[in-house]
């Protein structure tokens, strides 16, 4: 772990009572959802100006926890990175919003809702951001079906051709 990152991680470990893990010099902490707002405020105060990524991982069919929400903090001034993960269950997954601390989290949390169906509680404008507004389902979930194109071969070409939804003039 980076020498400059070591005291920061120790401070966070003491404050939130968790243990950091390390993989290839990248530190990572796992926090419960109710502590993420306090953690973000702390990270912002520690000089991590940038929330460079806010995304999620779907561990379906595991249900408890099904998702890990991943917050990647970057300190441009100190050249440091730190990751915080928040596990949430599969049924009604919610996480408190951090968009009032990191403004960039606004769109990222909308993407989180759009792609994974994880609600950011207290978000000022929680709408879909990438998919069309009338879209059903959340496409980056593991149980979301793939596409629907049926490969046509010579033996079933006509059969599939009949039920293909061709456009009219």
């Amino acid at each position: 772990m980076d020498n400059k990152l070591q005291p920061i991680v120790e401070e966070l470990q003491k404050e939130f009572g968790v243990t950091a893990s390390e993989y290839r010099r990248d530190a990572s902490l796992v926090l419960p959802a109710e502590k993420i707002v306090a953690a973000c405020q702390k990270m912002h105060a520690l000089g991590f100006e940038l929330l460079s990524a806010l995304t999620a991982v779907d561990y379906w069919p595991q249900e408890q926890p099904r998702f890990h929400i991943v917050y990647e903090f970057t300190s441009v001034s100190k050249n440091l990175r730190l990751e915080i993960r928040v596990p949430v269950p599969g049924i009604n997954p919610t996480v408190p919003t951090v968009s009032h601390i990191y403004r960039g989290a606004n769109w990222r949390e909308r993407e989180l809702w759009d792609m994974f169906g994880i609600k950011a509680e207290g978000h000022p404008d929680l709408r879909r951001i990438l998919m069309p507004a009338d879209w059903e389902g959340h496409p980056l979930r593991k149980d979301y079906p793939l596409g629907y194109e049926e490969p046509q071969f010579t033996f079933n070409f006509e059969e599939i051709n009949l039920r293909k939804p061709y456009a009219k003039e």
Binding site: M131, P139, L146, G147, Y148, E149, K164, Y166, A167, E169
Partner: protein
């Protein structure tokens, strides 16, 4: 044998109206300047000096759908782009044709997922499909010439629907 061979050079050409219309349609078919993905690079290449589609009367790519006869769907069509594509198609004046260029536009290609329309024929009626990922400019030109054959074969009686 036409009347011109009987009567000599009178500065007159006889033809049928169908042939004359087909000649004018195929020799000045203006495609729409409309690239969606990497296939558009090959489409530009087909336009440029090496392949030179202007040999077939296609030197003008029109940036407006109202001035174009041919839509080359060059690339994958995302679900959000599909209504836009249909709207552009509806704005084109009749008669109009569509070439689905590349695997993605024809059948979804490698993108068998939620974001991409699985074949642009769900959105607009396609006349010619060009296979390839992306198709080489020769393939696109072959597709265009195939479309010309189709256009030359159009009979007015069939066009009445």
């Amino acid at each position: 044998m036409g009347v011109e061979q009987k009567l000599g050079n009178m500065g007159v050409v006889t033809t049928t109206l169908e042939q004359a219309v087909a000649w004018s349609r195929t020799n000045a078919m203006w495609p729409m300047l409309f690239g969606l993905a990497c296939c558009a690079i090959e489409m530009m290449s087909a336009q440029a000096s090496h392949y030179d589609m202007s040999r077939f009367g296609m030197e003008l790519m029109r940036p407006s759908p109202r001035q174009s006869d041919l839509m080359i769907v060059a690339g994958r069509v995302s679900r959000k782009m599909a209504p836009v594509l249909r709207r552009l198609y509806d704005q084109m004046p009749e008669p109009k044709w569509v070439i689905s260029m590349g695997d993605c536009a024809s059948c979804g290609g490698v993108f068998n997922n939620y974001a991409i329309v699985q074949g642009v024929d769900e959105v607009v009626p396609v006349d010619v499909y060009v296979a390839g990922c992306p198709p080489r400019p020769e393939a696109l030109i072959h597709g265009v010439l195939t479309l010309y054959e189709k256009v030359r074969g159009i009979k007015f009686a069939d066009a009445q629907k």
